[in-house]
C-alpha cells in the first residue's frame, strides 16, 4: 500500500501556534509547539519520551490546558469556555494508550453511551451503527461481553470503534499500541491503517516506524516541547535534516 495522496490543499483541521504549557509544579512541557493538520491528513508525531508529544495532542481536545499560544480546531478557537470545549470534543475522538474502556458497561454500551447522551440520537439507531463499527474492527461477536473479558488488542479496537461511533471529524491516537503485547500490535495497526484509507483526519503519537512509513502523510519529530522537524515519511526516515531527528532515529533503530 502506498501513502494516500497528499492533501495539502484540504481545509485546515488543527492549527496550533506557539503553544506553551507549564505544569503546576513549574515544569514547562511545551515550549512554543506549532502544527497544522489538514483535512484527511494522517500526521504521525514521534519523539523521545518527555518530549511533550502526548501533552501536545491532549491540548487539541482540551484534556490539557495551555498558557500561551493558540489552537484552532475545526474552525473553533480553544478557550476556557466550557460549551466551546464540549463542542470541540464532540468533533475530536481520542484513543488512549490504556484503552480506558468503561469496565462496568458492555462493549456495545461502551459504544452507544456517548452518542445517545451527547448527540441525543435514538438508541436503536446508535446500536445498529455500533454493531456495524464492531464488525468493521472485527469484534462484533463480543458485543455483549464486558471489557475485562477481552484481550488488550480487542479492547483497543473497541476503543477505536467507540471513538468512531461519535462520528468525529478528527481522531487523536495517544500511543495506541504501547500498552499492548507485541502479538496484538498488528491487529490494532491494521484497523488504524484501514481508517486512514477511509480519509479520516488522524494525529497519531506512536513509535511504530513501519506504520508511519506506510500510512503517514507527514512525520513530526518533537523534542523538548517543540516541533523540531516535519517531513514526509520517506524523507524523514532516510534523510533527516535535524540533529535531534538523527539522534532519535539512531535510538529507535
Amino acid at each position: 500500500m502506498t501513502n494516500p495522496s497528499s492533501s495539502a490543499s484540504g481545509a485546515v483541521m488543527i492549527e496550533a501556534r506557539g503553544v506553551e504549557k507549564w505544569y503546576p509544579n513549574g515544569f514547562q512541557a511545551l515550549r512554543g509547539a506549532d502544527l497544522t493538520v489538514r483535512q484527511g491528513e494522517v500526521v504521525v508525531i514521534m519523539g523521545p519520551s518527555g518530549s511533550g508529544k502526548s501533552t501536545f495532542i491532549r491540548t487539541f481536545n482540551a484534556l490539557e490546558d495551555f498558557q500561551r499560544g493558540s489552537i484552532v480546531v475545526d474552525g473553533m478557537a480553544l478557550s476556557n469556555d466550557v460549551r466551546n470545549i464540549d463542542a470541540i470534543r464532540r468533533e475530536v475522538g481520542m484513543v488512549f494508550q490504556q484503552f480506558n474502556l468503561f469496565p462496568h458497561l458492555t462493549v456495545l454500551e461502551n459504544l452507544t453511551l456517548a452518542p445517545v447522551l451527547v448527540r441525543k440520537r435514538p438508541k436503536a439507531e446508535v446500536e445498529r451503527q455500533a454493531r456495524q463499527l464492531l464488525e468493521r474492527v472485527g469484534i462484533h461477536e463480543q458485543a455483549h461481553k464486558y471489557p475485562g473479558q477481552l484481550s488488550g488488542g480487542q479492547q483497543q479496537r473497541v476503543a477505536i470503534a467507540r471513538s468512531l461511533c461519535m462520528e468525529p471529524r478528527i481522531l487523536l491516537f495517544d500511543e495506541p499500541t504501547s500498552a499492548l503485547d507485541p502479538e496484538m500490535v498488528q491487529e490494532v495497526l491494521e484497523v488504524m491503517q484501514e481508517l486512514a484509507t477511509d480519509g479520516i483526519t488522524m494525529v497519531v503519537v506512536t513509535h511504530e516506524v513501519r506504520f508511519a512509513r506506510k500510512v503517514a502523510n507527514r512525520v513530526v519529530l518533537m523534542a523538548d516541547g517543540q516541533v523540531v522537524e516535519e517531513a514526509p515519511p520517506e524523507q524523514f526516515f532516510t534523510n533527516p535534516q535535524h540533529e535531534r531527528s538523527k539522534q532519535f532515529l539512531r535510538q529507535i533503530a
Binding site: L63, R89, L101, F102, H104, L113
Partner: protein
C-alpha cells in the same frame, strides 16, 4: 486398629479435631469451655431469667408510647412491608427455591409461631403475625411463579415500590392526609430506631456522595468547604454533636423552624454519617483510574454526565462494603439517642429497667436488645451482599490489567 473401618464422619472428626495429641487436648479444652458456657447460658435463659419484663413491655419495646388506638396504622405498615418483601423476593428469585430461601422461609415460619407465643401475646395478635408471615410467603411463591407474566415495564419499575412505600410509611407513622397526627415524641422503641436509622441512611448517602465529589472538586471554595465539613464532623464524637443539636437548635432557629427533638437527632445523625460515607466514597473515587474521566470527557460527555454514567457507578461499587459498614455503625449509633432523652430501643430499655416492678431485670432486657440489633444489622449485611453481587456481573479487576 483398622482406621478405614471407621465411618466417614468419625474419620473426618478424627482428622480435623484429634490429628495429634496437642490438637486433641485443645479440642477437649475448648469443648469443655463451650459446654460450660453454653450450658450456663441456657440454664440462665430457660430457668433463671424472668422474661416477664419483656412480655409485659413488648409493645413498649416495639413502638414506644405510640397511641394504642392508632397502632392499627403500624400493623398496616407491617403488612405492606411484608407484602413488598414477598413480592420483591419472588420477582428476584423466580420459580427456583435455592436452599437459602427454604431455610429463610422455615426460619420465618418458626419465628412467627415462636416469638408471639414467647411474648404471650393475645391469640388475636398472635394470629396477626401468622397472617402477615403467610402473606409474605404466599407473595414470594406467587410472584416467583407468575412474576414473569407481568409486563416488562412493570418488572423494571418494581424497585420503585420501596421509595414509594417509604413515603407511605412515613405518612402512616406520623399522620396527616386525614390521619390523626402522632407526634415524633410519642414514637419509640424499635419503631423509632428504625425510623431514625432509615431516614439517616437514605439521606446521608446522596449527601456523602456530594461531599466526596466536593472534596475532589477543582473549585477551591467547594473543595475547602467539603474538607472542613468532613474533618470537623469526623473529629467530633457523635454524642457531642447530638447534644449540640438538641441544645443549640432550640435557641438558633426561630420557633416554627426548629424541628422536633426526634427530627433534630435524625438530622444530626444524617449529617454525621454523611461525613463518613463521603470518605468511603472518596476512596471509591480514588480507585477509579483518571483515564475513565478523560475518556468520558473526550467523548464529549459533560462533567455531570461523566460522573453519573462512568465514574460514580464504578466508585460506588468499590465503596459499597465500606458504606454498608457505615450504615451498620449508624444503626448501632442510634442507641446514643437514649442519652439525649429519646425513647429509642435503649431508651425504652432504660425506662423499663427503672420501673420498680422490673428492677434488676437488666440481663433479660439487654439480651433482647442484643438480639434485636443483631437481627437488624444482619439484615443490612445480607442486603448489601445481595446488592454487591447484583452490581458485579463482570470481572471488574481484569479490565484494569
Amino acid at each position: 486398629m483398622d482406621r478405614t473401618g471407621l465411618p466417614a464422619l468419625a474419620q473426618r472428626l478424627r482428622r480435623e479435631l484429634f490429628a495429634s495429641r496437642t490438637d486433641g487436648l485443645i479440642t477437649l479444652v475448648l469443648l469443655g469451655a463451650l459446654v460450660a458456657l453454653g450450658g450456663g447460658f441456657l440454664r440462665w435463659a430457660l430457668v433463671q431469667a424472668q422474661w416477664a419484663v419483656v412480655q409485659a413491655n413488648s409493645t413498649l419495646f416495639a413502638v414506644g408510647r405510640y397511641p394504642l388506638d392508632q397502632q392499627w396504622r403500624l400493623w398496616l405498615l407491617t403488612t405492606l412491608l411484608a407484602a413488598a418483601t414477598g413480592l420483591s423476593w419472588g420477582l428476584l428469585r423466580g420459580r427456583s427455591w435455592p436452599r437459602n430461601d427454604t431455610i429463610a422461609a422455615v426460619l420465618l415460619v418458626a419465628l412467627a409461631v415462636a416469638a408471639p407465643l414467647f411474648l404471650q401475646l393475645t391469640l388475636a395478635i398472635q394470629a396477626r403475625w401468622w397472617w402477615i408471615t403467610a402473606l409474605l410467603l404466599a407473595l414470594r411463591w406467587g410472584a416467583g411463579r407468575w412474576g414473569d407474566r407481568l409486563p416488562a415495564a412493570w418488572r423494571r419499575l418494581w424497585p420503585l415500590l420501596w421509595p414509594l412505600l417509604y413515603l407511605v410509611g412515613m405518612v402512616l407513622i406520623s399522620g396527616g392526609l386525614g390521619l390523626m397526627p402522632v407526634r415524633p415524641s410519642d414514637w419509640g422503641g424499635l419503631l423509632l430506631t428504625l425510623v431514625q436509622s432509615s431516614f439517616a441512611i437514605l439521606l446521608c448517602f446522596p449527601l456523602g456522595v456530594a461531599l466526596a465529589l466536593g472534596r475532589r472538586s477543582e473549585l477551591p471554595l467547594l473543595r475547602w468547604g467539603s474538607v472542613i465539613y468532613i474533618e470537623f464532623i469526623r473529629g467530633a464524637p457523635l454524642i457531642t454533636l447530638l447534644f449540640l443539636g438538641q441544645n443549640i437548635l432550640g435557641f438558633l432557629l426561630p420557633g416554627g423552624l426548629a424541628p422536633d427533638r426526634v427530627w433534630r437527632a435524625a438530622w444530626v445523625l444524617t449529617f454525621f454519617a454523611a461525613a463518613y460515607v463521603a470518605e468511603a466514597v472518596r476512596s471509591g473515587l480514588a480507585a477509579v483510574p483518571r483515564g475513565q474521566m478523560e475518556a468520558a470527557r473526550a467523548l464529549g460527555l459533560p462533567v455531570p454526565q461523566a460522573l453519573i454514567h462512568v465514574v460514580l457507578p464504578q466508585a460506588l461499587r468499590v465503596a459499597l462494603p465500606a458504606t454498608v459498614g457505615q450504615f451498620i455503625t449508624l444503626l448501632q449509633d442510634t442507641t446514643l439517642l437514649s442519652l439525649i432523652g429519646l425513647l429509642d430501643l435503649l431508651g425504652v430499655a432504660r425506662t423499663v429497667m427503672a420501673n420498680p416492678a422490673f428492677l434488676g431485670k437488666n440481663a433479660e432486657v439487654y439480651l433482647l436488645l442484643a438480639v434485636l440489633f443483631w437481627c437488624c444489622c444482619a439484615a443490612l449485611g445480607l442486603g448489601s451482599r445481595a446488592l454487591e453481587t447484583r452490581l458485579n456481573p463482570n470481572p471488574l479487576s481484569a479490565a484494569r490489567a
